[in-house]
Symmetry: C2
Subunit: 99 residues, 2 copies
DNA sequence: TCATAATATAGTTATTTCCTTATATAAGTT
DNA sequence: AACTTATATAAGGAAATAACTATATTATGA
């Protein structure tokens, strides 16, 4: 539990950070905090166009952060990487509590 | 302590995330975790050119994440925003402990 | 005052990111 | 089969990032 100085750890960490470092993607991850949601539901909760959200979801998929499965008409998304859930929770603790 | 859904919180959070979402900047922040360090010391610990590190330090300064003071010849830098220290600590916990 | 050490800034270029519009695919319904 | 709903993809351009080289600034020491 010591250093964040192995190159591999730095890379994993910055990958996760880059994934979260965009307002729409952060909102997507917040929306998926607990639930598994269809894309259109994410579009409505988060705002912005269907195409734009779909592309951000694709980015998160590529980075192995969310996964999705088809259910009939729709695609259900959920957070795959538990580390990300911890980070999102931490972001909330840091940026939403006191001030 | 509930939602990360106020637009202002989202913006603050993504600013912090963007600041950390680069390997050199993350390393800089790790190096400054506890200490106040002169720029050249950061250059040596982190690697890359003096100019490059100086520019990344400037980015962190602009984003109000680190601050610096002159001491004779040198400029000493330290992390200004306590929230960032928490986030860095959390990154370590998440990416360096078990696996 | 000249040389050196520490840091910052300018100018340039390559790459990446982000968004938009338009279109494609896949499943469900009539 | 035609229509609709849900989602993905392609193509384009604008803007942001990142790195490099070279040069400027500031302080110290001879």
């Amino acid at each position: 539990m010591e250093l964040l100085e192995r190159e591999g750890d730095i890379e994993k960490a910055t990958n996760a950070l880059k994934a979260m470092a965009h307002p729409l993607r952060l909102k997507i991850l917040c929306a998926l905090k607990g639930d598994e949601l269809p894309v259109l539901e994410i579009v409505e909760q988060v705002g912005s166009s269907q195409s734009n959200i779909s592309q951000h979801i694709e980015i998160l998929r590529t980075k192995n952060i969310i996964e999705s499965r088809r259910e009939g008409n729709r695609i259900l998304c959920k957070v795959k990487d538990a580390k990300i859930l911890k980070l999102v929770a931490n972001m909330q603790a840091v940026f939403c509590s006191g001030n």
